[in-house]
């Protein structure tokens, strides 16, 4: 792993909400070509960690460094979410946040906004360049929809899609921003086993075909153990373990964290 190119490097990230320390000194790296997973019981601070990395929260302490290939390293702390996305780090949301009154295609087209230029005057005059750009947006977006298997639904309203399809649409929308690192927040939540298997396949394809590294939060252990390596485990805001699926399965601390959770549930 050492010789691989690190894309995301998070050092000692801490996030306080008043007196509550939601994320406590978490360090992790995601390297090129990896599908990394971040797991842990509910309330462990996984989503807060995501929100810090993607700029929705400004972390209290620690460094978030992005090393795009061929470009110089950028520190993400305190940057606005749209700047983070422009740098090539896209995300999906745990509680689906689609633009529900827009069509499926338009949802993906929104993802293209940060990669296109047409300004106010160009939009009003609708110059040739603008028309070409618009067509490019439509084509690319539609191809992404086909990729996640939503081609036939392009003109449906996003809110009318079934749950699993909405999750895949979120992935397509994130891909439209041309990321090199994709953060998926519980992509399989609420999916049936068949949908989860499809998702498993889709994530592997995104990783292999598009050479996009992936960091995912997930509770579906079968999915996590199947596709991801390395796995990071969080509990009460702290990282308690990291390693390959086998190492994680055998880690006594991890077992304790999960069994402790189960007695509550």
């Amino acid at each position: 792993m050492a010789e691989k190119h690190k894309l995301l490097e998070v050092n000692q990230l801490t996030m306080d909400f008043g007196g509550l320390r939601a994320v406590d000194g978490v360090t992790l790296q995601v390297c090129e070509g990896e599908i990394a997973a971040l797991i842990g019981p509910n309330g462990a601070g996984k989503t807060t960690f995501f929100n810090c990395v993607t700029g929705i929260y400004a972390p209290t302490r620690g460094d978030i460094l992005l090393h795009p290939k061929g470009l110089k390293t950028r520190r993400l702390n305190g940057l606005k979410p749209n700047r983070v996305t422009e740098m090539g780090l896209a995300r999906t949301f745990q509680n689906i946040r689609l633009f529900s009154d827009m069509t499926v295609l338009e949802n993906v087209m929104i993802g293209r906004t940060c990669r296109t230029q047409a300004g106010i005057f160009r939009s009003i005059l609708r110059t040739k360049a603008t028309r070409i750009e618009e067509q490019e947006i439509v084509e690319t977006s539609y191809q992404l929809l086909q990729k996640v298997g939503l081609g036939p639904f392009a003109n449906e309203f996003a809110k009318n899609l079934p749950y699993g399809a909405q999750r895949r649409l979120e992935i397509a929308r994130a891909l439209a921003t041309e990321p090199f690192l994709l953060l998926l927040d519980e992509p399989a939540a609420g999916m049936n086993p068949q949908e989860t298997a499809d998702l498993d396949h889709l994530i592997c394809r995104i990783s292999a075909d598009d050479r996009i590294a992936i960091l995912l939060i997930e509770h579906d252990m079968k999915l996590v153990m199947n596709i991801s390596n390395p796995i990071f485990v969080m509990e009460y805001g702290k990282k308690i373990a990291e390693g390959s699926p086998q190492q994680i399965k055998d880690n006594p601390q991890v077992i304790e964290a999960y069994l402790g959770e189960e007695t509550d549930a």
Binding site: A90, F99, I110, T113, A118, I124, V138, Q146, G151
Partner: protein, 407 residues
Amino acid sequence: MKNLKQSLAVALWFIFLTFPLMVVKVNTSDSLVEWRWWNILWVGLGTFALSFVWRHALARKEARQMAAQAGQEELIGPGPFERVMANQTLRNQFMFGLLIFALIFPWTFDTYQTTIMISALIYVILGLGLNITVGLAGLLDLGYVAFFAVGAYAYALLNHHFGLGFWTVLPVGGLLSCLFGVILGFPILRLRGDYLAIVTLGFGMIIKVVLENWSEFSFGPSGIANIDKPGLFGLAMDIDAATTYIYYIAIALVIFTVFVTTRLRNSRIGRAWIALREDEIACVAMGIDMARTKLSAYALGAYWAGMVGVLFAAKTTFINPASFTFMESAIILSIVVLGGMGSILGVILGAFILILMPEYLRAFSEYRMLAFGAAMVLMMIFRPQGIITNIRQKYEYKGLKEETEHG
């Protein structure tokens, strides 16, 4: 059957409630009690009919909602009007007819009608401008009339002090309004919903108070008179000709506004506005610059108000702060909401209904606000999406693997 029974109960209850008011009439001078039994019948019949219609409409709405949930029917489906608009040839014919009507209007009707039509057209432009801010970007603006005032005063003052003409100030008024839009936009970038509404309401008030009290600048409540009407190469025009001329300017400005706002809505920027309305967090996470998008929505919404404010000042030749009250903002907002948020045709129709109806129903002008309120409540219950829903842009795409799917 259940509806009938319930309506009957309601009617009886109303008869009982209104009995002392409607039936018993005490004549104190003659110490007589008059019994007006016929009124029972009218109250009973009236409430029964209203209640029945109300229940029937509600039941229909619920049934449709159930059908929509079961996936059988689109809840906010296209009405007959949307279907006409979706058809290209029908639409062109309709537009052509409308244009002809608009062009011959001042020649077929008298100056009074034309004047009313000009004010309706002014509200059409105001509605279309506010539609950008409220309908597309979802930023509730209760002080929109402030931008209108900026435009009107820009023309009045520039004309008064420097003798600048209508055509020179027309773009200046718009741009000045844009500037005010950005000035208002900056401090309220972080606000949402109720807070945003209150700040914009305050902004509207501030502009009005400033205009009323800063007499050296704006001539206070007495206003500015003798503003030049728009000129046409120095041609001398009588009042009828001038009205007709302003009418055509208003038509041209409406066409210009419709053209630009349609293009904006169907562009990358328009999509960003709609996305911002739908979900702010997802919007920024998708790489959209929230500050820029919000400011552009304010500035471009304000532009139209400023532009049409110049026209307003030129039309009335006299302006004072009383023309720019909160009531105006509320009417413009009602136009957008009634017409259909984000729908350009809906807003145009809404403006005509809300501005022309009170003009032609002068006899009932006392009940104007009552009718307004009732219309709003009924709209919100039965057609919350407005008179005409937003007509969606169609996209053409080829896709991978020679698949050609068109929706």
